[in-house]
Amino acid sequence: MDIKTRLFHYIKPQKKNILFASISVIIFLISQLLLPYLVGKSINAFGEMDGTQFIVDIDLNTIVINLTIAAALCFIGAFFDFIFEYLVNIMSQNIVKAIRDDVYHKLNNAPIKTIDNMQSGDLVQLEIGDIENIANGFLSVFKQLIQGLLAIIITIILMFLVNWILAIGVIVLTPLSFFVSKFVATFSHKHFKKQAKLMSDLNALSLEAISDADLVQSLGYEKESIKAFQIQDEKLREEGKVAQFSASWTNPSTRLVNNTIYAIIGIAGIIMILYTASFPILAMNIGNLTSFLSYTTEYTKPFNEISSVMAEFETAQFSFKRINNFLNLQDDIDEGKIILDEPIKEISFENMSFSYEKDQHLIEDFNQIIKNNEQVAIVGPTGAGKTTLINVLMRFYDPVDGRITYNGIDGKDISKKSLRSNFGMVLQDTWIFTGTILENVRYAKPDSSDEDVISACKQAHADTFINTLPEGYNTLVSSKSGLSEGERQLLTIARVMLAKPNIIILDEATSNIDTRTEKQISDAFDKMMENHTSIVIAHRLSTIQNASLILVLKDGHIIEKGNHKNLMTKKGFYYDLYSSQFK
């Protein structure tokens, strides 16, 4: 979808709101702008010009009628102004929600590859900051535009009604104010951008040192670090001064322009009154002058307001462009239609090759059959392709060449949902979301009871530490705080214990757990996995000695396979790796 279509897509459901908002704003503006007209008329009813002298001759009736109408209009105007602002706000929040939900949907349905290739911070910025920008920018511009443009049109009409000559004068003069404030806004926006950049540099600098303050102190690097901070801070000061100063031109220069216009229109009006007797075409009087001075202010206001939100509008445009690009990304296509009606018994890699990038050779011509109830261990140096293998197995990525069959069916033909429901996986990078311990573990199987969750935690040997937490199972945890890496691993293991899947994948799942606890967990797994297939990746070779099949991977190839005994007698790569522990 291009940007316009996308924008229209979000605006379309809001037609009713737009319609009623527009009607309300028209009523409001007419009422508001008629006020100076009626006030001018009342003042005219105070008396008449005789030559150049104002002679008092009150027409109380006219005054009372005009002011009563004005008072009524004032209440009507206020009411519809409220309705207008209220509707615009509802509309903007509806649109914000729609975009947010769409972005989140995309996050959950884009291919893993897409998510992997993007920075997590950028994605959060897209979902939170960019959408806020749209709400602030687009919608305030929308509001100012509707209100401003209508106000301008109505004011022009009313000014012509009062006095066409001065009306032309105002129309010619006011764009001045628009250009001045637009110029100031663009100029200061540029400097604010620079300031923002310097600010985020300074943030990064301080974040680095503060989050590693121990190290900085231990290296005795405080003085240098403070100096580096001061240098960066000084740059920020220089730019900040310029930015703040340039932004502060807005109000004074607008005031200057307005005062100038006020003086010119005022004096011109007075002169016109003086000559109305000799040149009736000027048709000016004191009441009209009062109305005019009000209209001049009313007329310049929308110009200033529109130009002041222009910078926000540009930001919003950028944000919307980014969101549109993200939403235009291809969804993860699941061409697999087959739904497995029985658990996966056999997995077979057939001449399978895979790489993340073209021209890169990660896994090549991989052949292996994993049978039911087999306990497979994959070992090998970093970068051998162990985790990649899991990525392909779970269909987070598809093989570049060859295929993987599950129960003899090509993986590509099986629906991802059905395929993945066979696996339970514990990854190297633990994932704990913001929520209670109970919620985090239950995530694996939403319909399980508290008792089930607790018993899974007991099996994972997580129960002991959970009970030392302030609120036990109801303690709130998040990705950032609360738990040590080892404790997080225990929780993710508990998840799999709860899900009891057919096939268990453990990718360095116990790397931060002390070896004794690890042993106890692996016993628990052994008990649980008696009738299960398991695939384990481990650095610590001691944990995998019981595996029925050990695959030794190097550079994407299986270089050795067999059980622990066979591999040890072979005295090959595995033997070296293993014996290094006891040297």
């Binding site: 509802i90 994605l123 303050a213 001061q230 000061r237 001064k241 005062n259 007075i270 202010t297 790796l577």
Partner: protein, 605 residues
């Protein structure tokens, strides 16, 4: 001396007087312009005069008459010029004030940030953990900016806004005291309404902000857990739960919006009604003969009063915004002060240097050492006693959370012992200057973090006089030279934030090399070889022993193999030493040690 935010602001006190003073010139002109307009109108059209027209009128007349046959035209042109000149002069003086404001505010902000940063780095681990990293960063980056904004707007508008409102009020009283009373009545009404709504909505705004935080957390959780979400097939659930959060955000935002939508219509209505009232009263007063108030208002007065009304109204809205900025700024000031008032609990006034240190004295002694992170809290370390001699190695092993790293924190003096004493080179460790102590220690932390810059810049951090040969030597010992050599730019190779462009193992080797470059007397490896494979781990340790035979070492690890050849091994559990000795002794005497060893290596066949 403890610095406060106030002290930093006070330093710029002359600007707080000059700035607003210059700005007053414009404010006075702004107040005079409608009066001049009135004087011109009266000079032209009215035979009756009031005090304003008399004084300003004679001022205009003093410029002389150049168009003799049409004095009215003459006066209005002169008056027009006077108004224009006042506008331009006002503009120029204002810009002077704006410049002073920008300069002073950024100076205050910068000095505040520098001081905050300095303070943070001087704090010990205890205070830093108490404040939390996030809070310190917020104070440093956003609260300091908030204070800066407060200063900026105070100089710019702090005096001007109230002055304009008061001035308009005074002038309206001079023009007509009864209408002045109307003005006096509406000012508090508008102020109260706008203020009430703003107070309420800013409270609600905090709620909205926290709802937005929830959305943000949910999004980053979801991104981090992409694989898990899909592995458990929970995409639909995720979306549903997210939608319920966006719905609640939407509801709250609409509620706040509704409140804010009240401000404009209400103020519009009040000002409009006031205008109507002014004209109405004016009309009655002018109704000759039946004068309602017993005197007459000039039509010019009515026009002028209406423009003061607008003036008051606009400034009031500005004033309420200002009050909000100042409130925020005051809160931020308090938060900054809270940080500035902190004092490091580690006193580093010690100056002792043990020049007479003899090898015969133990290098490090723990004597009944206890450590508690909170006052009266549970002990993280309980009654530790051990002795380490110069040139020997100490291994520490134990499960997660057993207190291994806490021991290291005591030796580095990130923390002080709650009870008991640490003797370093025969002297209480507190007697040394912090700088000298840390200079002698090469510390490789658990988290192998590098700083943004280059490989070279990271080494220079540890020792800014290190030569390339020395760095090369350290790299070779830490087995990092091979991969560093492979970079075209060698030591100039870029290091991204936290060294994320290196693998965990590479980072650990670089941090070990970085510690070695300092030629330490004591090397501490806090689980710092965990990401290395066993072979490399062993080689690195052997290299270190060979190259620095006199180096005293402390090695913390979960791997028995890493510490098995140490001269002394401490087995920790629950913050207590449950056994200490050499590897072979421990295998016989300590069951936990034996079990740990067996769990890592069944030697069987």
């Amino acid at each position: 001396m403890k610095l406060k935010t106030k002290d930093i602001i006070k330093k710029s006190w002359p600007y707080f007087i000059i700035g607003p003073a210059v700005k007053m010139i414009e404010a006075i002109f702004d107040l005079l312009i409608p009066l001049f307009m009135k004087a011109i109108i009266d000079l032209c059209f009215s035979s009756s005069n009031d005090i304003v027209t008399n004084s300003l009128g004679s001022f205009i007349k003093s410029f002389g008459t150049w168009i003799p046959n049409n004095p009215e035209l003459n006066y209005s042109i002169i008056g027009g010029f006077i108004i224009l000149i006042m506008g331009i002069t006002g503009f120029c003086t204002t810009m002077v004030c704006q410049y002073i404001a920008a300069k002073t505010a950024t100076a205050v902000g910068t000095e505040l940030r520098d001081n905050l940063y300095q303070k943070i780095l001087s704090l010990s681990k205890k205070e830093r953990e108490m404040m939390t990293e996030n809070k310190m960063l917020t104070i440093l980056n956003s609260d300091s900016y908030q204070v800066q904004q407060g200063v900026l707007f105070f100089i710019r508008l702090g005096i001007r806004a109230p002055f304009i409102i008061l001035g308009s009020l005074v002038i309206s009283f001079i023009l007509d005291y009864q209408i002045g009373l109307i003005f006096l009545a509406i000012i508090p009404i508008i102020l109260t309404i706008v203020f009430l709504v703003m107070m309420k909505s800013s409270k609600k705004y905090l709620e909205i902000q926290s709802k937005l935080d929830v959305l943000s957390n949910k999004t980053s959780d979801n991104i981090a857990g992409t694989r898990v979400v899909r592995a458990f097939n929970r995409q639909e659930y995720e979306e549903k739960s997210f939608k319920s959060h966006t719905a609640s955000y939407q509801k709250e935002a609409i509620r706040v919006g509704r409140l804010n939508s009240l401000i404009n219509p209400l103020t519009f209505a009040i000002v409009a009604i006031a205008t109507i009232a002014v004209v109405f009263i004016g009309g009655f007063s002018m109704n000759a003969g039946v004068s309602f108030f017993g005197y007459q208002l000039l039509p010019s007065t009515i026009i002028t009063l209406v423009s003061y009304l607008t003036q008051i109204f606009q400034t009031l809205v500005l004033l309420t915004n200002l009050i909000q900025i100042f409130t925020k700024s005051l809160v931020s000031m308090k938060r900054c002060d809270q940080l500035l008032q902190l004092e490091s609990s580690i006193k580093c006034d010690g100056t002792y240097i043990n020049k007479n240190y003899l090898f015969k004295q133990p290098y490090l002694v723990f004597n009944h050492v206890y450590l508690s992170y909170k006052e009266n809290g549970n002990y993280a370390l309980t009654d530790l006693n051990f002795t380490l001699n110069k040139g020997e190695s100490l291994g520490i092993i134990g499960p997660t959370g057993s207190g291994k790293s806490s021991i290291i924190k005591l030796i580095e003096r990130f923390l002080d012992a709650t009870e008991g004493t640490l003797l370093y080179k025969g002297q209480d460790i507190k007697n040394y200057s912090l700088k000298d102590l840390r200079k002698e220690i090469g510390y490789v932390p658990q988290k192998a973090n590098l700083f943004k810059g280059t490989i070279l810049s990271n080494f220079k951090m540890a020792d800014d006089e290190a030569s390339n040969q020395e760095i090369e030597k350290a790299l070779k010992i830490a087995k990092a030279h091979d991969f560093v050599k492979a970079y075209n730019d060698y030591l100039q190779h870029e290091v991204e934030e936290k060294g994320m462009n290196f693998s965990g193992g590479q980072r650990q080797r670089l941090t070990i090399a970085r510690a070695l470059i300092r030629k330490p007397e004591l090397l501490i490896l806090d689980d710092s070889t965990s990401a290395l494979d066993l072979l490399t781990d062993k080689e690195v340790r052997n290299n270190i022993s060979k190259s620095y035979p006199n180096l005293t070492k402390i090695i913390v690890s979960q791997r028995v193999s890493t510490i098995s050849d140490c001269d002394l091994i401490l087995v920790l559990e629950g913050g207590k030493i449950i056994a200490q000795g050499k590897h072979d002794e421990l295998l016989k005497t300590c069951k936990t040690y034996e079990e740990t060893y067996l769990s890592q290596a069944k030697r069987g066949d």
